[in-house]
């Protein structure tokens, strides 16, 4: 019953005219950003983070969270209409989404993806409501050794589950960790890699690096791949729609698909580093293996669209649990959200729900409202998003760059940070071009200082002995879980390679 009391308290905080306005604004902006190819939730939150400075903290965080899950909804629109995933999380949605649009069923596909995203998002929030307090209770017993292992687990899971070259993923993570070491060492007061610059004494700030890698890097990469040359008007598959609404057959077929994959997605989202991309690909594979007609998958099967959609939205909710209860981001998007929380003076962790229940429950309650708003927006504003997708990239690009630059400058009024952001943009472009992982850099930049601090505390407690990791039951459980995740990641990559080879041979 306490959960419902807390939820009601959260709703009373979330339902104010100003907060609802922020929520709707965030959801709409998130959808718009998500529908621009290449811009995912991480870029959306990073670019708009500075815009929230003058707002009330709860309203601002509600808005940023709405941008996060709004972008998850929006990313699928381009996957269906353009066969271009807005973000890696919607890659699986192109498998059947685009064939549906080619068959003249873009309308039903967009409505069904909205329903699947709503189901996934809402089941995810219900599970957060039920599980987050329990997680918080369990994690209160966690000490520095467990935090160190969780930080390590987050980043290594991301590297192990990378579909490309894992060595380049590891190098990306190490670059992020290395950037995190710049500045004054907290224990000794020794300056590290500052080159005498007073601006670097406080370390490399996370926001310019995140905006550069995700926002500007994507922009440069889009110009490299030629996205600016042709307008998308001729490619967008949204014309001559026979009917807009899905048939009863579509709904009937997907009635178990959506909740089943929402639960799967949420569980995967809970694992730091696993994330929505893995969840959506696993959901697609699961649904295909459960289907009596697996050959229809890839040729315009509605379940092939609703399964990954419900899973990736539930995974984004699942990723909020380690963020809120441990203060450990499980993905690049939640890492940017963590930066926002810290900027507002809120320290997520085991005590957040006890010490700051208004914020925690206000945010969770707002996610119920946000999902409802997004369902309505994503169905009734489809023509608007089709229009946005058709906007030429060559006009959008300089506008986005100006907003990124002004946003970065407005954080600390520092031109050095603007140049760090532009430099990170160039590096982000080259990283993406050559198979490195900008997400791993950002996640490691956030987790690196946390890992170093918790390892230092651990070794002080244990008087320099690493045996402490094997003597504490919680640490042992985390390590066993960690090994299991890494092992399943290796198996998953082997399975992917095998299916790719088989697909190529077929």
């Amino acid at each position: 019953m306490e959960i419902f009391d807390n939820l009601l308290m959260g709703l009373s905080i979330a339902i104010t005219p100003v907060n609802l306005l922020y929520l709707l604004l965030g959801a709409t902006i998130g959808m718009v950003i998500g529908s621009i190819p290449g811009f995912g939730p991480s870029a959306g939150i990073a670019i708009l983070l500075p815009v929230t400075f003058s707002m009330d903290p709860i309203g601002a965080v509600m808005m940023l969270a709405a941008i996060y899950y709004g972008a998850m909804y929006g990313g699928t629109i381009t996957a269906i209409l353009l066969n271009t995933p807005g973000d890696s999380t919607t890659v699986a949605s192109t498998f059947d989404g685009f064939p549906l649009a080619q068959q003249g069923r873009a309308g039903p596909a967009l409505v069904m993806q909205a329903c699947a995203s709503f189901t996934g998002g809402t089941i995810g929030v219900i599970l957060i409501t039920l599980l987050a307090p329990m997680f918080a209770m369990v994690t209160r017993s966690f000490g520095p050794p467990e935090f160190f292992l969780l930080c390590l687990m987050g980043i290594l899971t991301l590297v192990a589950l990378m579909s490309g070259n894992w060595i380049l993923g590891l190098v990306s993570a190490l670059i992020g960790f290395a950037l995190g070491t710049v500045g004054v060492d907290m224990e000794t007061g020794h300056q590290r890699f500052t080159f005498g610059s007073t601006e670097l004494i406080g370390g490399i700030h996370f926001i310019p690096v995140a905006i550069g890698l995700f926002g500007i890097g994507e922009l440069f990469h889009a110009f490299y791949s030629g996205a600016h040359k042709s307008g998308t008007g001729g490619i967008v598959q949204y014309q001559n729609e026979e009917r807009f609404w899905p048939t009863s057959k579509d709904l009937r077929e997907s009635k178990f698909t959506m909740p089943r994959n929402a639960i799967l997605g949420f569980c995967i989202g809970l694992i730091p580093g696993a994330g929505a991309t893995i969840a959506s690909l696993m959901a697609y594979s699961l649904e295909k293996s459960l289907s009596s007609t697996p050959k229809k998958f890839g040729q315009g099967e509605m379940r092939g669209l609703t399964a990954p959609e419900s899973a990736n939205n539930a995974a984004s909710s699942g990723a909020m649990v380690p963020l809120l209860t441990l203060g450990i981001p499980g993905s690049a998007s939640t890492a940017v959200l963590l930066a926002a929380f810290i900027m507002w003076g809120l320290r997520p962790g085991p005590l957040l729900m006890a010490e700051n229940p208004q914020f925690a429950w206000g945010l969770i309650s707002s996610m119920y409202l946000g999902n409802m708003a997004l369902l309505a927006i994503s169905i009734f504003a489809i023509p608007l998003f089709v229009y946005i997708i058709k906007a030429p990239y060559r006009i959008l690009a300089p506008l986005v760059l100006v907003v990124c630059v002004m946003g970065t400058f407005s954080v600390n009024a520092s031109m050095i940070e603007v140049f760090i952001m532009l430099g990170a943009g160039v590096i982000g472009f080259l990283m993406k071009r050559f198979g490195f992982s900008p997400a791993a850099v950002v996640l490691a930049l956030v987790l690196g200082p946390m890992a170093e601090e918790s390892l230092r505390q651990t070794l002080i407690i244990s008087r320099g002995s690493f045996d402490i990791f094997f003597l504490r039951p919680s640490s042992v459980y985390i390590m066993v879980f960690f090994v299991a995740v890494i092992f399943s990641g290796i198996l998953l990559n082997a399975y992917r390679k095998r299916t790719n080879i088989q697909g190529a041979q077929a």
């Binding site: 890699f193 490299y224 300089p398 506008l399 002004m406 070794l459």
Partner: protein
């Protein structure tokens, strides 16, 4: 291009490792983790991982393959304009730098659409000033001459 980028990261990693070994101590006088504990481990791992990546690419013959230089042209122009925008912003301030950057970018990439380019070039600085300067009351770069 891939080779140059790999070498760039390798050189940066090597410099980072050198500094971690030469300037930072591994342990403090009390025997605790020193400022160089993490950087030394990171640096050595980074250099080894990067060498492995290069060797694997040499083995797979992918190190020298890649896009044609012409594919980089538009991205290189945008990068050049963006970096110039950063310098102009620092020296001349946003009032001059934003319209100059937007105008130059649109002139190059959106040739022939003079009316659209002019409208966007005028509208964006006004919207930015209203959004950041008035609505959000945020700092704006005024340049060195302000």
């Amino acid at each position: 291009m891939r080779l140059f980028f790999y070498l760039f990261i390798l050189v940066v990693a090597a410099c980072y490792t050198y500094m971690a070994f030469s300037d930072l101590t591994f342990l403090t006088n009390r025997g605790r983790m020193g400022p160089g504990f993490f950087p030394r481990i990171l640096g050595v791992t980074m250099v080894v991982a990067m060498l492995m990546a290069i060797l694997i690419d040499i083995k797979n013959k992918t190190l020298f393959s890649g896009a044609q230089d012409s594919q980089y042209q538009d991205a290189a122009v945008l990068i050049g304009l963006s970096l110039t925008f950063g310098v102009m912003l620092m020296v001349l301030g946003y009032v001059i730098a934003i319209p100059a950057y937007i105008g130059a970018t649109l002139c190059y990439f959106n040739r022939g659409k003079h009316k659209t380019n002019a409208a966007v070039t005028v509208a964006v600085p006004v919207v930015i000033h209203f959004l950041f300067g008035t609505l959000l009351n945020a700092s704006l770069p005024h340049g060195l001459w302000w």
